[in-house]
Symmetry: D3
Subunit: 241 residues, 6 copies
């Protein structure tokens, strides 16, 4: 292997993953997830209403918003609230989080209510969207437990676990869970969202510079599969289920 | 095969593709691309300046914007200029088009100038983003020919052809080039951007409802590969190269 | 006559006018109108609702929006959706189109519904607003035919035809239907909206540089009257009525 | 005459016109103009810079902004600053004021500076745009006097006086200078901007309901001509020139 | 005393205060208030509705908006409607005006309606927010009289008078009612809102440069108290109560 | 004392205060400050540029932005970045933080650079703005230490410590450091910003419901003074100075 990772991490190793529940006190689900130095606060808020296109349907909805504190990054970036609009990148990520979570929920079983997921990056070091999805699932799980405890739900609408990880090729080496310096240097970058049962929910591969081959894609998907299994184990451990 | 397509189209067949160059007269490149009833006007504008982050670098840039006429769709949608902002979907698509085109350009060889690609959907029937990428490449090629003819460039900065196609699984059947009714019904939807030499530039697969397997993904990528080869042939024929 | 027009066009001659109906497939009315190199796509969308100030009134409404593709012009102009607002010029034109169309409609007879007219300039060479009004009328006429065919209307709410043309004085010569180079060079510029029965709906004359006299205005209105009669004939021919 | 006007005003009579100079103390020109109950504060600000498209040209510019205090009207209207955008009507009016003023200025003789005209409606009772143009000219004249007094200009760039008035047909009667109730009731409404030497700068006629004839237009223009002459006399008297 | 004020004004003297009622004709309350050269038009509009958070509560609301004409100041400032947003300063001031007025109103007794206060600065010379509050109270009082006269209210919901004044320390001298040059030069600036019965509604003290002491604060509050008593007398005189 | 506080807190007692430095790794200063359950992340970013109005002046600037995570509060509030603008409350608070910090900085000694303070509320339970100011000072102090360590500054531009606390009267009892339930219930609410040497930087007192007296104000200021002394001690302890 040609590329030496920070602290001697193996090419197929995740960074240390921590999932802290009940991080803040008001939200129905509140999770601080860390993938190494990437730290994202994911809260799940239960709202007893649905967006206009769902009203009267009897089915529920999950929606996500994503944000980054201005100094979560190496150099300060402008606050989106001050600029008056969310960037294309922000919107792309929050749409991805929403789709990923909805894929493992039975929206009919959720009933006509919304779980709003807020993923706010406290500190960024690559992989903020994959950490956000992984943590948001745990926060949503806690929100469902709240609804069950309140007898607002009889059975859980959660059909499967979902987690996400990035993979990429840096200097010819396939790597799992890219941190920022690796992400900047990589030739191919792929974000993979998978269920605990091994199905793909989202696969987003992007060539940076040179196009990638079917074989490279296969290698990366295998690496992602390994990472997802470990992340789901971490989610289970945090939830005690 | 269980799913019957419009006009008896085969599961692995593209819709009729037409690429009309010089569709409007002012732009350096102007292409109307049709994938069946999906029609997108792609123009390429040469601007002798670059965005701030590129100034003084000596290298160029390609950027893309995407829009849809309000009544390109079955029911009229609000005009984004009147709403005062572009939707997340619009921003996601125009970022994808820009990345895809930049991947086959040698930005150093382009010199410190910008090619701005405008992809405006005149009529929508599924696959607007893939038609846009396929047509935008031809428009960009014409813009480069203009620069060569003007002696502003000595050699072409184009390194490869690029095209895009959608694939998906509908009622268990893998289909190439989804039209609107198929796109709405599909279980898995994938947009694939590839070069003429067979490399992947972007792969974006999304599960709608149920997650998809590695095998399904393999089948879809193979189908996409077939479609891309036909699209590149259509681009070559239109360009006479 | 001192000013020589493109392709030897006479001072009182329109550019070639073409009106293509059913240009796109989703809209109730869809017309591509060309005044020479100026090409505008006008669609009419029937919406079974009215703006708030009309609700419960039993009467209908016509509204118009106008847009220009970024590279419809010689040099690319910024996309209004990306800038986040419509220019004053855009708003002025769409208000003009709406007023002009409403003037020939019996809004009571239309019933409590809206016809939304979208006029999008595909290619610009002067006279985009006059082409838009002329084409929008034909699109609105097709939308009414659709409502009659659907038995949603028993009688047509259309009371008269309406069309629009520009006139101006360039180098002392009164000209009909100004193209871009003439428009840029003219001393006086007037847009005239008239009905088939010869009444004025809108007259907007603007001095560019020097003020104009009552006599000049009389000459221009006469020229406009000639142009409008020819445009109404073209509308009738296209509609077959 | 069938229509009885407020306070027995004759059909061809202006409302009482007052022009108060130096109404506020900071602006280079500050004029409160009243057409009856319509009161507009017009200020002219000299700025030693020009818009980007004029930079380095050696020529100047006049620009106008228009606003209405929220309770200038019968019922309170939303504040445009709070809504976050100017209405189409506002933009249309400020473009009209700017064009009208520029028409009587020699922009080369003004030098590379801007006169910014702010027309703010304190109280509205019809004819706010015509009062604004009439008052803005006087404010601009004072700003020019300031520049001459400061020796920043050697000769005045003002080539002629300009004023504006509305005319319309109400219940078949042509009326000069419409107040609000007349404006709401009129069949045809025309705003006319003219120079002291009798040339037309802008003519904007709009049919409300029924189209109007060439003869009606002739009558209205004659009425406007009478009103403009009286307004220019009032401007001269206020300026003492 | 070390600091010499304009026109020999005493350190503890207000500028000449004038309060002109019925300044414009449409509003239920319309007051032009002048503190020396600072002139603010305050209108009160009665609206028979309340904001969403008050609907169905049976209680009313007072809200305020603040604006400044572009050339109210020494150099022209950008129009907030054109910029598309209100500055932080504007929002801070209009929130202050609203809170101050609500403090002397019995919102239950007002009934489920809103009094909207618009405070527009015609000319600025320091103290615009204090003049606005002082004038807005008189306008609101007139709006209440209108409601009483219309029998929409049986008893007045006004519990006390409210007025506001600025105080500050300039070159070591405590001054009442700062004008612009004093405001720019001051070390400590305080805006005080008080009731006629001598209670504090708002106290906002800001150190400019150096922090201020408890003693200085005491002196300033005493000075403010004197000014408020004079302002309330002026309000009473204007209202004839 | 009539009002019983959470966990038997004394009327004149602060909640437990914790100040954690180096909370995130990228910022020059990064502090998590907690006043009980109120937790605010304050980062200080050094930027080697100044706002336009300071360019070329040789002096520096401190600026602040404030935000609240959507679920920092009991019920989720809309994300300001998604709404496209910052509320009046947000702008008011960030202006207050900026002014407070600048008051203890020698901006000349800072040199032509900016310290940007971002105060983001992770969890809210009353007193977010006072916690923000108190924490932002420590973050700014760390940023100065960074500049000194880098030899970009020779001497510290910090002239004094600054901290802030809220005080209020609830059910007749003066209380120090209001938590959310107290803040909602209070008659008078005051935010006080003071220096370590006992000077006032900002005093903002607001009557909620009934006006307050000079005596009550005196009592509250004394209580604030006690709290500020304890906060400065906590700042010193955290900084080890």
């Amino acid at each position: 292997m040609s590329f030496v990772r920070t602290q001697g991490r193996a090419a197929d190793a995740l960074r240390p993953v921590t999932i802290t529940r009940q991080y803040t006190k008001h939200a129905e689900g509140s999770v601080l997830v860390a993938f190494g130095d990437t730290k994202v606060l994911c809260t799940a808020s239960v709202e007893e209403k649905v967006p206009p296109f769902k009203r009267g349907s009897g089915t529920g909805w999950l929606t996500a918003e994503y944000g980054m504190l201005p100094r979560a990054t190496h150099t300060r970036s402008d606050r989106e609230a001050a600029k008056g609009k969310q960037s294309g990148r922000t919107q792309e990520i929050q749409r991805l989080i929403g789709r990923s979570l909805r894929c493992v929920f039975d929206l009919d079983a959720l009933g006509e209510r919304t779980i709003a997921l807020d993923c706010d990056v406290i500190q960024a070091d690559g992989g903020t969207r994959t950490a956000a999805i992984t943590g948001a699932f745990v926060a949503a799980h806690d929100a469902v437990s709240f609804l069950l405890a309140q007898d607002k739900l009889k059975v859980s609408p959660i059909r499967d676990f979902v987690a996400a990880i990035s993979v990429g090729i840096v200097d010819g080496t396939p790597l799992l869970d890219l941190e920022y310096v690796e992400d900047s240097a990589c030739d191919t970058d792929m974000n993979v969202v998978m269920t605990a049962s091994g199905g793909f929910v989202e696969v987003q591969g992007t060539a940076e510079g040179a196009a990638f081959t079917r074989d490279e894609m296969g290698t990366l998907l295998q690496l992602a599969d390994k990472g997802i299994r470990e992340l789901v184990a971490a989610q289970r451990k945090a939830l005690g289920v």
